[in-house]
Symmetry: C2
């Protein structure tokens, strides 16, 4: 029985998946050593495909209609389709109780709070991300992505990239946001690369997925990525590399 993981088609493949959220689901599957294969879906095809398959939307569009997002999984062992990376993680912990836990020691609630707080701290990041992401899609998906983002934000992606002093300020705010996350890590007894000390768990999957999605977006040799690796005692480098053994793409 092989699980299907629905992930986003992108020009960064086959080396690097583009979406941070699908990276989270892949870490979960690899960490648990659950056999799976990836089905790459064009951005514009997510909604029609998921509607056909009966995969639940995860959120709403600005106009109130259903929003369908990757990742999703299909598990032939149970017949279940599950969308939303957090829900996928919970499903896998519950359905495969003999595999390593994504939420060990009853930490689901704390991990949910961490997840929200982590993303909440990174508000300044989006200006450096959205346009770059668009250019890593196929031409058809890029057009779709640009159009739907314009509906969401009311302006073109180019207008969302901070410039001049505003860019300097936003970059500092992004550094400060990551600094708060670094401070949470540093408060742990082990001061190790994992939030819980010795074992990776959901929060690490979230952080490392975002880090590596940024590396993919900006490029390993970019000034932006090199900046991140220098911040906060250089600790982001070890964190970004801390889940390498769970990055196999099946």
């Amino acid at each position: 029985m092989t699980v299907t993981l629905y992930d986003l088609a992108a020009t960064t493949l086959p080396k690097d998946p583009l979406s941070p959220n699908t990276r989270k689901a892949r870490y979960c599957l690899n960490y648990k050593r659950i056999p799976y294969k990836t089905q790459w879906v064009e951005y514009a095809d997510i909604e029609p495909l998921f509607k056909t398959l009966g995969i639940a939307p995860t959120s709403k569009k600005p106009d109130g209609s259903a929003l369908y997002t990757v990742p999703a999984i299909y598990d032939p062992a149970t017949g279940a389709y599950v969308s939303d990376s957090f829900a996928i993680a919970q499903y896998l912990d519950k359905t495969y109780p003999d595999t390593p836990k994504i939420f060990p020691s009853g930490t689901v609630s704390l991990q949910a709070a961490f997840d929200d707080a982590f993303i909440g701290n990174l508000g300044a990041m989006w200006g450096f991300v959205l346009l770059a992401a668009a250019t890593k899609l196929s031409p058809a998906s890029e057009e779709f992505y640009r159009r739907t983002r314009r509906e969401t934000f009311g302006k073109a992606l180019e207008e969302m990239v901070p410039k001049g002093d505003e860019a300097v300020k936003a970059w500092k705010a992004f550094e400060a946001g990551l600094g708060m996350v670094d401070a949470w890590y540093q408060r742990g007894e082990g001061k190790g690369v994992y939030l819980l000390g010795n074992t990776p768990s959901w929060g690490d999957f979230v952080v490392v997925s975002v880090l590596n999605a940024l590396r993919t977006l900006w490029g390993e040799e970019s000034k932006k990525w090199k900046d991140v690796l220098l911040w906060h005692g250089g600790r982001w480098k070890a964190r970004a590399g801390s889940l390498k053994e769970f990055e196999t793409i099946l």
Copy 2:
């Protein structure tokens, strides 16, 4: 050997301590069954007393000078003075390893994130809190509190209380903020009153301290407190009462 807990003198005593932060430290001491006695300190006396004792400040005032806050503890077993409720909790877990853990299962980092995210969600609460808190202090401390808050916020406490439509909006925002916290609790497998399921831990101490400080401020019979108890399936009532056995005031 009896630990000294420095807590805030208030007119709500001896029944109810006023400060949410000192409540957290009291939960820690009672939960670990560490013998302690409380020393009640007038608001205006915190800084001179702590300077004399050599207790470290926890933050900075708007003018950049050191800010001294309760709680603090003195532990005669080690000679240590510790300030900041989170640092006190970490100190007690480390110094008394054979007592129940405030941060079980290596959750310090996740609990720190929860703590920040919890308070971050409650921004709308302060307008309903600060003036009420001032009126529960002794006349001398109230004068001091009002003066120092004015320095911090640039206006009188009365001006910070939302009125009319603004109050309705702020109250809804406070409800929504608590709703996000409720959602974290509800995501846990147990859906119990404790974040980790069966055992209380730091995050619960934080949440329940704030809840009971609000009850103390507003009064058990107030419309505000009754509203809170009705929100989110009425689940705040069980949470507010979930640590009763650790509320003894020594």
